[in-house]
């Protein structure tokens, strides 16, 4: 592997200071960053390993919220009795990411900061209207995701936690690409205090909210409300696994399935 320096700070401020260095990248679970480096698609001069920072793996409940530390691993979230009880849709989503070995390393903070257009977590965070907490501020989900692999984070900014307001009900449904196992389309629906929110991943341009589904479900929170809706294929990517029209169709199917599961 191409050489890099390695730092493992034990204080947040120290980590932020290190990230100001040239070509320096934060390392959480490494499930995306390390394959990228291995395949010589990135060659950072240094990695700042966040795993030594205190308090980053907590999973706790507050008033009407569940907070996940940024380094909470997918397996931790999936297996958390608290998340299973309060936000079962999120526990199930976490338990469906990648495979068991990925879930033992991958973290929610890493997934959000990477913002892969086919990642699962961004759909939950956006649909639930979660708040991304960083070393310096709080960012609403609606302001966080900025398209393909882009977020509102500054280059030296570190996600420390994600705060999920508890919805009335919520669920996630996806169809995985048989090869990569990333979702071809994943739809997270949530009935929240602020109304129905629906977020979709896999469409090709980064996670986004689906106004058509939200409006329809606001009128009637039932699978039939969305199963007949046809989104324009223009907003979807085509690749060898799924043509745009198919992705557009899957969006309705997955939305309906998520609603059915939320109601179950």
């Amino acid at each position: 592997m191409i050489a890099f320096d390695y730092h493992k700070p034990s204080r947040l401020a120290e980590a932020v200071a290190l990230l100001a260095g040239a070509e320096t990248r934060p390392l959480a679970g490494g499930m995306t960053l390390l394959p990228t480096i291995k395949n010589r698609l990135a060659s950072p001069a240094a990695l700042v390993d966040l795993s030594g920072l205190p308090g980053m793996t907590v999973i706790q409940e507050g008033a009407g919220v569940v907070t996940l530390g940024a380094l909470a691993r997918h397996a931790d979230v999936a297996g958390s009795a608290l998340v299973q009880a309060r936000l079962p849709a999120l526990a199930r989503l976490a338990g469906s990411i990648g495979d068991p070995a990925v879930r033992h390393r991958g973290t929610i903070g890493g997934s959000l900061a990477n913002n892969d257009p086919a990642a699962d977590y961004p759909a939950a965070v956006l649909a639930l209207g979660a708040v991304i907490v960083t070393d310096r501020r709080e960012i609403a989900a609606d302001d966080f995701f900025r398209g393909l692999f882009e977020t509102a984070l500054g280059p030296d900014e570190i996600v420390t936690a994600v705060r999920f307001p508890l919805p009335r009900r919520a669920a996630y449904a996806k169809l995985r690409s048989p090869a990569s196992r990333y979702p071809l389309i994943g739809v997270f629906v949530a009935e929240t205090a602020a109304g129905v929110r629906v977020a979709m991943t896999g469409a090709g341009h980064g996670v986004l909210r689906v106004a058509e589904f939200e409006q329809a479900l606001a009128k009637s929170f039932a699978p039939e409300a969305v199963s007949g809706l046809r989104l324009s294929a223009a907003g979807f990517a085509s690749d060898i696994h799924a043509e745009a029209a198919y992705r557009a169709h899957l969006a309705s199917v997955m939305a309906a399935r998520a609603v059915a599961e939320a109601l179950a």
Partner: protein, 795 residues
Amino acid sequence: MGAINGVGAAPLRKEDLRFLTGRGNYVADIKRPNMAFGVFLRSPHAHARLNGIDAKAALAAPGALAVLTGEDVAADGLGSLPCGWGIVGKDGQPMKEPPFPLMAQGKVRFVGDIVAFVIADTLDEARAAAELVEVDYEPLPAVVGVLDAIAPGAPQLFDEAPGNLCCDWALGDEAATEAAFAKAAHVAKLSLTNNRLIGNPMEPRAALAEYNPGTGHYTLHSTSQFPHVVRWLMSALVLKIPEQKVRVVAPDVGGGFGVKQFLYGEEAIITWAARKVGVPVKWVAERQEGFVSDRHGRDHVTEAELALDETGKFLGFRVHTLANMGGYLSTFGPNIPTNLYAPLLSGVYTTPAIYCNVKVVFTNTVPVDAYRGAGRPEATFLVERIVDVAAAEMGIDCVELRRRNMIPASAFPYQTPVLVEYDSGDPVACLDKAQENADVAGFAARKAASAANGKLRGLGYSTYVEACGLAPSRMAGRLGARGGLYESATVRVHPTGQITVLIGTHNHGQGHETTFAQIVSERLGVPFDSVDVVYGDTDRVQFGMGTYGSRSLVVGGSALNKASDKVIVKGKKIAAHLLEAGERDIEFEAGVFSVAGTDRRKTFAEIAGAAYVPHDYPLEVLEPGLEEQAYYDPVNFTYPGGAHICEVEIDPDTGVVKIERYTGVDDVGTVINPMIVEGQLHGGVVQGIGQALCEAAVYDVETGQLVSGSLMDYCMPRADTSPRMDVSTHSTPCAHTPLGVKGCGEVGTIGSPAAVMNAVVDALAHLGVTHVDMPATPNRIWRVIQNATLPRAAE
């Protein structure tokens, strides 16, 4: 004393322990002192003129030892990669056979074509140096599909192959077939593609080469299915070095499936390079490198017609196939879509007239060669699909149509109109048993239950036959083989009576160490535990053609049986002397030589001891020692076959196809180890399911880039997408192999794609769907349903 574990027993595998404890010895595991690492620089272009290579910066990089290119290959007078088969066109002209240089000469012809070999002290240094090699490419238009390649004005790969045509080949009686069609009551037509596949054994290819200047010996460790053939072709035709000074070792090999049965340029280049740089050189392919350099499989475009009489009797079958060869001819390349394809077009049916024309075509893609099944899955898929198409068109149940045309057991041996004579088989019995095992009777109820859940259920059949046990050398020679296809085995009896078998086949998952030990254990009456099997090393094993085409047990096992018989013959001579009896009076059974009708006896171990301590021994007429060798050349192919039944459930909302039941009844002849046979069938079936449901090598038609170039984009069957299978055997012993075996390595892959796709089409038949191309991905199935159900424009 351990037990005798013979034919039909299922002892656990001898090879398991080292793999289960991490003590396997794969090429990538091997290290040598002072070893350097090599990286192949490969063309990023599908087709380009190679105007020059500047290696100065690379050679100046830290640790760099050498940058070798096509110029060095030419300067050293190395030969190009030989093609092992020379087929002849229907006009009597030999195939066009442009050279396949070790490294690109003047032009690159596919993405992945080798341009340079960069060697450095460490792997990271070799990679870094390789990035500094400057190659001046002049991109040319590329062509990746066969239909495009034969079109007028298509980019031309070779001046000597106009129209990109390697060979216009045919088999069968064209006139008789025309006549059959003239009197047909119905003609079923089918156009299909057979999707291009990438074998992807889990162990990537790798090689480690060493040269000893003191002795002039080369040693190549390689992930090969046939080390002796690599040595032969590489030394004689490519490197032009003495064969006896080359040792090729194929140690533990992590799966092959055909992908590792060719002489690869990498093997010859690294062997040559090791001498040039003076230190051992190692190369291990990365997976994505394998995608663009391991030989691909399948890739046909076919138009076929089946002529039937009014009762559904098959009268004639006419097939026109375009077969993609890729950018060069690989070791077996042109043999696969011709000799291993057309002779199987009779299937298990009595079709009296068959004509098959195959145009073998060059394209700017990775060379195409054998992949598990090799030609026979393509033939079976075509035959079994068109039978279903004909049945639907004529309103005859597809099983009934099959039964009306099946070769009855009483008709074996059966001469087909396409060259081959099936020695044995009972397709009707396999079908009967499969229908029972698959609970076909309960299908209607299961289909109704699926429908109640909004799902579409379908049932599909594949009743198939294949040709295995490659191959009778004389026949192969007539078909264009440039080598023999026999196998060799030595039975070395040690003074203690324990045995080492040295055999020319190669074991890379098939359980040979166990199965071959069983053959010897039974034949010589010695404990299973006292037989060890050695293979994969040209310095230890006399000779061998290796493992492919389900040949190891059929041809290698026969050689082993023959060598064991020779041991018995010699043992009887020794026993006759010791027991003071006539040789003809000596009987041998269960490890004991005895004088017929008496209690005078000698054990196998006593005879072995006498052979090596020849004090009381007929030295005047008999040599000491007890070691026998045999070569076996089969008298015919073997013809395993069977019936596969697949039941799928389709989710019309997503297009996802789920296999709910899979049943196979296969006739593989005599079963030596049922546990191992079952494992081979499982693995084969799932590879066939992979072809049917998810695997496809996809090229961008504009750029010639391999779009499905990693495991992110090439879908491999996984545990949670593979079905539970019910496989069993119904054996009719092979009439001409000494053990009655037919081979089982490929049957699953050959039988299954048609069963799966016939089930898919059956599930969609009510929508008017008559054919679906592979792979039946969710998107494709959704699209098929869309196209079938969308309101049609007014005509």
